[in-house]
């Protein structure tokens, strides 16, 4: 996310914002020097930790991915170059997992954005019980993702589940479907569990965006005789765009890493194996560290490519947010 947001130190951004942000101008440059030294000292420990727990493992994973290395036979390790990548990219498994992850991401993120916007608009209205509604929708956020998976499993169990019970009681078809046992339905349950847990998060971000829209723009729209729908489409939505884009980025990058939900609900069966799950399976169950690392790096690259695409197409919004932060 660094593209284009690097800037001269001390550059002042944000109109009318924090004009006292440059105390150094009025004070001797000795303090500027002291501040810079202190800043380096304060950031260094955190950066060292980050290098050890983030940069080093990724670099080591790249090395491992170019070796044939099995935990089954100790000592067996040899450099194989890009062979692990070639075999991953020529196997159907990787592309299947990637496709399934993208399907999951597309459905869950778009549902979360739409429901999140609706929920935010609802929470922005004045009515009795608004506080209660906000509390209620926040509850799923408190739940472990694993527990959210188990919760939805109880909902969709063949005999025990509420869904089956309701369908049978109403005499509707589908009472005999084993929801988690069929490819399309299994994916749908996983999407539902994800939406249930994270739509409130999107709603909170959008609500925060709604609450900083000044009233006068609505008054102006009313004077111009714009209807409710037109006002929403032409005023609210454009002003909310930065918040929506940010929520979409957060959710997309999270959804591409999906692991917990399919792990608990299907163990990756019935067309629900994600990229992370495939890498995990090679690594932990098949004990193929080289192949597993190659798949992890491919997952990493996929997520990074999607981030870059977002920055490319929504770069203005991200830059606005980042610069405002500076």
């Amino acid at each position: 996310m660094a593209a284009g947001i690097d800037q001269a130190p001390g550059r002042h951004t944000g109109p009318g914002r924090r004009t006292s942000a440059r105390p150094g101008r009025a004070t001797p440059s000795g303090r500027t020097q002291a501040e810079r030294r202190l800043a380096r000292k304060m950031v260094a420990p955190a950066l060292t930790v980050m290098a050890l727990v983030a940069a080093f493992p990724i670099a080591y994973a790249v090395w491992l991915s170019m070796n044939q290395y099995s935990l089954r036979q100790s000592g067996l390790s040899r450099f194989v170059g890009l062979n692990n990548y070639i075999s991953a990219l020529t196997s159907g498994e990787w592309w299947t997992a990637m496709g399934q992850t993208f399907i999951f991401t597309a459905f869950s993120v778009s549902l979360e954005i739409v429901l999140g916007i609706g929920l935010a608009l609802l929470l922005n209205m004045a009515f009795r019980g608004r506080g209660l509604l906000r509390t209620v929708v926040l509850v799923p956020y408190a739940v472990l993702t694993v527990v959210s998976a188990i919760t939805w499993r109880t909902m969709f169990e063949p005999n025990l589940g509420l869904v089956t019970t309701v369908l049978n009681a109403l005499g509707l078809p589908g009472g005999d479907v084993v929801w988690l046992g069929e490819p399309g339905y299994a994916m749908a349950v996983i999407v539902l569990a994800d939406v249930w847990k994270t739509a409130p998060f999107v709603a909170l971000l959008v609500l925060a965006g709604l609450q900083v829209i000044p009233t006068d723009v609505y008054e102006a729209a009313e004077l111009d005789g714009a209807g409710k729908w037109k006002t929403f489409l032409n005023i609210t939505l454009p002003l909310l765009k930065p918040a929506i884009v940010l929520a979409a980025i957060f959710r997309t990058l999270d959804a591409l890493r999906v692991f917990d939900l399919p792990f608990v609900l299907t163990r990756g069966a019935n067309g629900t194996e994600s990229m992370s799950m495939l890498a995990y399976r090679e690594l932990r169950e098949n004990r193929l560290v080289g192949e597993g690392s190659a798949l992890s790096i491919l997952t990493f690259i996929t997520v990074m490519v999607v981030s870059l695409i977002y920055i490319r197409f929504a770069g203005g919004n991200i830059r606005a947010v980042a610069e405002e932060k500076e």
């Binding site: 304060m42 950031v43 019970t165 918040a243 932060k325």
Partner: protein
């Protein structure tokens, strides 16, 4: 949007609003159609929980019936969970892992975030972007190499072996959230500390840090929840009950016997583990909302 200077952190949705020019809700109240939606939203949020609770109160043959209310409710599943030494061990492990990772992350992050928020520094935006980009790493890309290293140096299947990689995601989250909070503290406070002859570090330590306690608490809660919830690292890096945290223990719950349909027990364990977290979220609701949206939308 630059007219409204309010940061999100200062916008509690339920608390009385400060006198500021924000959009007031314009409708007097929702009509019957909207009430229907409100009820539907609440049902969608809560009914699955009810069903989990319902399942946890069933045992034996009741577990294969979809009764809306258990005809013979039993606490047998809860007794089983509390008698399961492995499950209790996993709670201990989760507490140790989440508390240690949060504490370590908070110490390193509070220094770094202050520098990034307040001090003059070169390449500040680049550093912040770099740190933020780590939060997008897929955990599997960390777990795969660590699985290999940990097995060689004996950290595999240990609590320390889980705590260390938790920092990969806890630290950037803490830095990012804290940076937003430090920015909200008025600069005049540091200026007056400087006037009194304080060094920049003393200004941070004596003046800003005590004032940032609410922000530190909020950040700690968010980091704690995220560490507590994260599943992939411990599932990859542990194999025995001695090191497994709660999410992994629940995912691998096998019931009292192999032939037992453990869904009742799993549901009871899920309910037990969810209640304290729901209470935490309800009590700290305002903090959590402000933390989640901190820095997301600046006026």
């Amino acid at each position: 949007m630059s007219t409204a200077q309010g940061t999100v952190a200062a916008l509690p949705a339920a608390a009385p609003r400060p006198a500021r020019k924000v959009r007031r809700p314009r409708n007097a109240g929702p009509g019957p159609f909207l009430w229907l939606i409100i009820v539907a939203v609440m049902a969608f949020s809560l009914v699955p929980f009810y069903w989990l609770l319902n399942t946890s109160l069933k045992a034996g043959s009741a577990l294969s019936s979809g009764e809306l209310f258990p005809s013979a409710p039993t606490l047998a599943n809860y007794v089983t969970v509390f008698q399961d030494g492995d499950f209790l061990l996993s709670i201990r492990n989760s507490v140790i892992i989440a508390v240690s990772a949060t504490a370590i992350a908070m110490v390193f992050a509070s220094f770094a975030a202050y520098a990034l928020a307040r001090l003059r520094m070169r390449r500040k935006a680049f550093l912040l972007a770099l740190i933020l980009s780590v939060t997008t790493f897929p955990a599997i890309a960390i777990a795969a190499p660590l699985f290999s290293i940990w097995t060689q140096i004996g950290l595999y299947d240990t609590l320390l072996g889980v705590i260390i990689p938790k920092l990969t995601f806890a630290l950037p989250l803490a830095i990012y959230t804290l940076t937003s909070f430090f920015r909200e503290i008025p600069r005049e406070l540091e200026e007056s500390a400087y006037m009194d002859g304080a060094s920049p570090f003393q200004a941070f330590y004596r003046v800003i840090l005590p004032l940032a306690v609410p922000g530190l608490a909020t950040t700690a809660i968010l980091v704690f929840i995220s560490v507590w919830n994260e599943f992939l690292l411990p599932v990859t890096l542990t194999s025995s009950p001695e090191a497994r945290p709660v999410p992994v223990a629940i995912a691998f719950f096998s019931g009292t016997s192999e032939f037992d349909q453990p869904l009742g027990t799993i549901s009871a364990a899920s309910i037990i583990i969810t209640i304290p977290l729901v209470i935490l979220v309800l009590v700290c609701q305002k903090r959590i909302v402000s933390g989640l949206t901190a820095g997301a939308v600046k006026g």
